[in-house]
Symmetry: C2
Subunit: 338 residues, 2 copies
């Protein structure tokens, strides 16, 4: 049985939603979910649920890294925080994956310090799933925010890691790798893109060249490679646009009684659309390049997002994505030594 | 009477839509619209419209810069192209603004070579209006794609130019200037953002600090400053997300007869939403920092977008945005000499 460690104290609505999500995931996916944090309050939350036959052990940790704390100093100073203790469970082999909805910078630091990098990987990166018109229903955007300043050789490694993740998890034999840029043509983009292009071309990956911002939702690539600054701005922008559209639509509908009736009739279609775009379906972003499966979710996650983040962790473990990245680096020696 | 020069040959659907848009704008805004391009085909298009009492002179230009041509070499080699001749009309004072829907890179090069930079400006930048929940109904995103690699001092100048444009055109006394980044906190962002922050703080502008991708549609700033790579990726991403949402909604609605009826009832609200998000309402992006008003629109523009691009050109002339930028540079000497 796969064991997943959940930071029970992480996120805006912890521990109520973390414990709820853990119970849900343990039931639906048949995994053991270790709940890391302050035992009395986790026990009190667990008591609210039916947990007969489920494996939900508590791993005590007295401290909590708050959302607003400075990431690396918090990780250094709070050795008994749920985040540091949780990562340690993976390091010592007590579990196979770590999931947190807490301080994202803290989670990056805790995973990097605690688990270390896969041999040959220069910079771990966050892979975020983005709803798109692809066979898998999404595109993996990597880096979604772990590295704001990067070199071309890092982008090459992001591509390799994204390739193995998508290949393993979605079973697409040769995922299409796109490089995010300002135009399709090879001479478009900034200096970083220009430098990364020849590296990607000789990588042996299924590199399809530059893709533009509009091509991501359209599903032109299965993996979109970019620096963590652009990736983060892009993801949050998409979220903002989707949310603005819903707000504006509601405002226009409210002003029109017939439209209000129309929206009631169209509710099923609107809900289906919302579900397609709902970040909660994917649960969280996967931190690729560290020596252990790590999933980092939205601070505002609810129990459904947490359930699904645990599902993503389980799949990443089952498909041995880390082993695939290690093997990929070995077979393409230039990737590691470039 | 204000005279605007329109590249009649520029864009995917020229000259039919360019001439149509020019006729529409001349009627609605009382401006003279010079039509630059191949006289016989422009005349043939003009003959399809009622133009009594309108001022629509033709300025002959035998060549056309195609959408796929390499921008700077096309501008150098095609001296009698509608783009080069059109820019020259502004340079010689025959008109007060140039509007084109043609090859964007070509338009940038033609304006930069033909008009030169405003004294003290290091890099002209594209200001694109983005639908947002602000008093003006939009945020100006600058740079939207003219400069893919920038320095912090350029970002400072983009902020100054954006400030004067929004202040003059929307009459907001102190436009809120945001710096696009990966988090609100001052330590978030890449090296460029870190370097630009102190410059913006001491600029005397109404600098509100970092804004995230989601804050742009939410209207947290009136001007959002970023490099042209990030700005372009962001804009095209927003376009892609909006278009994906409409596509997915249609697909879900089609599968449900009741929802189809609902959408008919809600049509007014949906159309109002579409209008709010429609790039055609704004007509085009304004190239700030060159010595002459230049508006660059989407290649796929229709006559309505072209009409509105001419309106934006007229407003930019009337409000003397260029004079305001010149005066702003003089009063903040460090901006020009930094």
């Amino acid at each position: 049985m796969i064991t997943i460690t959940l930071d029970a104290m992480g996120g805006d609505h912890a521990p109520a939603v973390t414990v709820h999500g853990a119970v849900w995931a343990a039931r639906d996916f048949g995994v053991t979910v270790q709940l890391v944090g302050q035992s009395p309050i986790i026990e009190a939350e667990l008591a609210k649920h039916k947990t007969d036959g489920l494996h939900l052990p508590i791993v005590p940790a007295s401290q909590v890294i708050e959302m607003a704390e400075h990431p690396s100093s918090a990780v250094k100073n709070k050795k008994d925080s749920s985040m540091v203790v949780g990562v340690n469970q993976v390091k010592t082999g007590e579990s196979q994956a770590f999931v947190t909805m807490g301080n994202s910078g803290g989670a990056l630091a805790a995973a990097l310090f605690g688990l270390g990098r896969i041999k040959g990987i220069k910079r771990p990166a966050l892979g975020a799933v983005f709803p798109a018109d692809t066979p898998a229903g999404y595109t993996l955007l990597i880096d979604a925010g772990a590295n704001t300043d990067v070199k071309a050789e890092y982008l090459l490694q992001f591509a390799l890691m994204g390739h193995h993740y998508v290949q393993r998890v979605t079973k697409i034999p040769q995922p299409r790798i796109g490089l995010l840029s300002t135009g399709e043509e090879e001479d478009k983009g900034n200096a970083l893109v220009q430098e990364a292009t020849p590296l990607l071309k000789q990588s042996g990956l299924n590199f399809i060249g530059n893709v533009e911002g509009k091509d991501i939702p359209a599903g032109l690539a299965d993996v979109v490679v970019t620096d963590g600054f652009t990736g983060n701005v892009y993801l949050k922008g998409a979220e903002g646009v989707a949310s603005m559209m819903m707000t504006l639509l509601k405002r226009e509908v409210k002003a029109r009684p017939l439209a209000m009736l129309g929206m009631v009739l169209a509710r099923g279609a609107l809900n289906a659309l919302k579900k397609r775009l709902d970040y909660r379906e994917f649960g969280g972003a996967v931190l690729l390049g560290v020596n252990g499966v790590t999933i980092i979710g939205h601070g505002r996650s609810d129990e459904y997002a947490i359930r699904n983040a645990i599902r993503v962790a389980k799949e990443t473990v089952e498909q041995n994505v880390i082993g695939a990245i290690e093997a990929g680096l070995t077979s393409c020696l230039f990737l590691a030594t470039n």
